[in-house]
Symmetry: D3
Subunit: 242 residues, 6 copies
């Protein structure tokens, strides 16, 4: 599918809105830098993350999916990213062998430098855990020399967990505060596409400012206004002390 | 003392050997890059970390200190770093208000970008804990606008914990694998200065290779041979996903 | 099934005995207060928790289930609670999509204020982990606006983990010591119904006293004799400092 | 000093501003309910938490203390609380035997139902750790039958840790979201008294809203607008499942 | 199959090489002592742990399995152990009810005093987690009085987790340093059988020395040269303080 | 003082009763085996652990110390152990350089195979933490070649933490269940010497049974009736898988 002529960042999102609220800044930042930014939505969040839609009389699962898909495509476009929907179902999100193979194929195709996904243990939403687990497992399979000889194995991309809605309850401890100030307007536009969850726009705008204040407190440049928080799974390798 | 005309890296070392075994690569790396590399030895390790010396008949604490000082100065020179000895005593290392003030003065003078020190909880060696705690506390005091108006407050340097002798027993989880391949010969020369602990040279040479293998496994360049492991205290702030 | 004319407490029990030993006091307490107390037994514990039965020559799985069912129904009656058996099998307890849907239906039907279940990580008994995970996942699905439009979504009930047999090995840290003194005789009667595990009656009687002593030590009224220990999953919301 | 004719809530605050930002809502809430609300400031935060003051030419430690004292007294009055200053020094806050005895005397005098203080491990600010440790230790001494026979031992008050500035970095996991909606205006007034840290008013106003949203998400009444987050040290004892 | 006329040690290995690198010393030690040493390979590691094989043109999964099987049988013979292959597949290793039953049957047949397996949480390799989980679950089922009346239930064997490749990233904290000095040559011979992973021989030889140094540091006899590290799941029961 | 003609076990007890309730079985067991069993009481527990005494009119600190000393000497005799009192004060127990030196001298004199002491973090009683910390620090100093040349350095004794009163709140996870059945009557006699805390005899008798049940559950011999729980600080070194 791709010629890997430019580096890639890939997000594995349990529901079709998660990538916007939690990682939209990172995606916009890398899209602006010319990276191939890929979004994989494991489900549309059609049952559990569309309360606004379900207040519409006569709503069906298919209609909810279609509405969520439209929103997510608009948001992806606003961020400058490509988006794929695997339609694996939500509440619960269950990933069987076929689902896993499709995620592996997406990862091999992108060969990303970095994978973004959910935390390991969100007591409010086990779909998030399923996405986390599937990301680690699919990354491992995508590395295997003996898996699907028609596509090459990937290297060892970092996995960054983005911020859950209630971070402390999920054991989330940020170790990267990413400056998203230059692209915040793009993130806001993407957030405004999410009609089914519009109550969250102000919440995540405020959160961006809060993480921005913390970024400055932790030695960041005073020009930082908005930030997103991430937690790495693997150690950094490099030659810089930081 | 300094005009801060170049960036600084500073290590707070409980005993006069710790900085060599655990962070010698990092110090050499930054010395080669032209940073002002500073070593603060809180003690000489004269009682507890000089078993070779104490096998000499008639050994005294003062003679042990002198021997350890000579070794450490040679090692610092090999690494390209400046070294200061606060002579606060070892086994136990106890840091009172005056000792703390001296550490604060050293930190304000260096205004380092990064501080290197021990882990928080080493059940084998509580002097290491004392050095860790003193580093966090001195960093905080050095930031205070109302502390010693004759020197300016510092910013918010990262604190990196270097690898303890038995990492798993100390809760050490590396999140930075630092490539020290280009300067490993310098580190070896520094290690060879430590006559009182010469049994450790091979041990830390092997450890460097082991961490190097792990660095490559975690996505590092295949040219990496030796690495040192570090664990950050504070989140990274930046605009790069890693 | 119910008109929700009174508040509900619901326990999700891996095996048909767990609710008695670990949460019988809580169930009796709320039954006496007029709550609708519901017990969902995911299995009968027919294979793994009925060693007494299996010493009977000619015992079969069906006969073990029947005997366990009789005991559990008697215990539920003694506590003043309703009981349902989902018969999902034990050792191992495996919960597939259909099993999950049935748990969701039970939770939606009860719309409980509080859910009681097992801890997340019991190295001795992974059926307990399965019940914990199913409770969190079923709670999430039961909240989804788009799940089964024939029954209404639930709110956000607290989940309380009851005490495992070897609490420290399971990471159990009680943060609620529930005074069960007024209903302890009811709990004892329920425990005495469990013929297949009669060796546990004295053990859990002593445990009740031990937790009672701790309750008083933690500021509880000196009239407390017996208590049960629980660990919350979610924060308390309220207007009282405690 | 007091006749204990009404119940008491007591906060042990490392610096003279901490109680406002982190626990002002709780204090106002209990003051309105008629409790005897007591604030013990271990230091004024004169060196480390008064950057605004130290930009004034000719500022001295005594002048900083006086200014901070005025602010804190005004804030306490706005909250309806009594305030005491122990003047133990900040950056670092060091609590010797005499300082500890004075804290014990304050606690015995108040005989509080609840103690509020800092978290155990704040890597940014070890004064907070010192206050936490002193609170636990002073509580223990205040309970001792053989300590100072002129005042009676206290019972076993709960200790609630209030929210640190960067909660995830401090291991803070809220398990109480306290509804402060009815008293938020009082808290705002108290915050506005803190001229030396005025940049924090907006930050903590936003945080109150954020915690309020979480309170509703965790099953709180939809009328909740602002909340404060706390983490308990000891288990709750009671007869209510929550 | 066996008459249990001698005690047994059993290892549950995700892939056919794991038992060699991580537990070969323990297996050789007990084989020399006359124990019945059993190896259960859940998969051959045919896809993910045979990069050398997959560089051969025309390699197939079946050929990779056969090559891995030959190597593992040679290694088992070198260690003095029996080996069984369950061929459940790798990358991912998925263990369904039938796979679980086969593991239970192996454990009941061996009735081991000790089970050896992987850690619970290896972010690099979820097959290891699957093997850990299956070991705990199969041990539980094997204990059940009502499971398969044709074979007797087992007791309560200890479960020891062997060392993962990157121990700190897996939460591995060794609490047993096993002296394997007397059998290290046997382990080396076994390692040399693993042609598909020959790059690991030096790595694990060095690791054996490193753990040996730590063993002496922790009070072991000075004659110890090589050791293997393990982490227990369950408490030790005994009458010796150690 | 001693010629080290027999192996030693040593307990470092914060108050003069702790060694009885928490480790009395271990001490009796090793005394019966002919070990040199040593008890070091850092304080008498005169203020904080003698509520019975302080109900006596006219009680003084000196009288409380004398009464506690008599009790502890009787208990030590019942256990077959030697006892030393350092009289460092309780509530709070503060250990300065001189106190530490005295503990080091005791440890060097005993040269114990095992040290027993309190857990690291008891939120109810910080004297316990102080004893834990002093034990680790004194052990380290006692190992130093350059400390006090008149007595020889010790080796690397294991440190076992005995069970605190509320184990889960202290992070206590037992990894040794010590069979004390053969000496339980001796422990009971020792407990009955502790007149100032007689309410605890039944409590710790029950706890012994509870830990005994768990010992059998974890694979111990069915003859075990009573056990004590311990948590190791350091890994075991040996040649036995357990």
């Amino acid at each position: 599918m791709t010629s890997h002529d430019r580096p890639s960042v890939q997000v594995i999102s349990a529901h079709s809105g998660d990538f916007v609220w939690r990682a939209g800044g990172a995606l916009a930042l890398y899209a602006e830098r010319g990276h191939d930014v890929r979004i994989v939505c494991l489900s549309y969040g059609e049952r559990g993350e569309s309360p606004g839609l379900w207040r519409t009389p006569g709503m069906t699962v298919d209609a909810a999916k279609a509405a969520r898909r439209d929103e997510a495509e608009a948001a992806a476009a606003a961020l400058g990213a490509r988006i794929t929907f695997l339609d694996l179902g939500d509440y619960p999100l269950r990933i069987d062998d076929d689902g896993l193979s499709r995620i592996v194929a997406e990862i091999r195709d992108a060969a990303p430098e970095v994978l973004l996904t959910h935390v390991a243990n969100d007591p409010y939403n086990r779909d998030h855990d399923a996405a986390h687990e599937a990301t680690l497992l699919a990354r491992q399979v995508a590395q295997a020399a003996g898996h699907d000889p028609s596509t090459p194995p990937i290297g060892a991309p970092q996995v960054l967990q983005f911020e859950p809605h209630q971070p402390e309850q999920c054991g989330f401890v940020p170790n990267l505060l990413l400056d998203i100030t230059p692209v915040f307007e793009r993130k806001r536009k993407a957030m405004e596409c999410m009609g089914a969850q519009s109550h969250l726009v102000q919440y995540y705008t405020d959160l961006g400012l809060r993480r921005g204040v913390q970024a400055v407190r932790n030695g960041g440049d005073r020009s930082i206004v908005q930030a997103e928080a991430y937690q790495r799974v693997f150690p950094i390798v490099g030659d810089v002390l930081r």
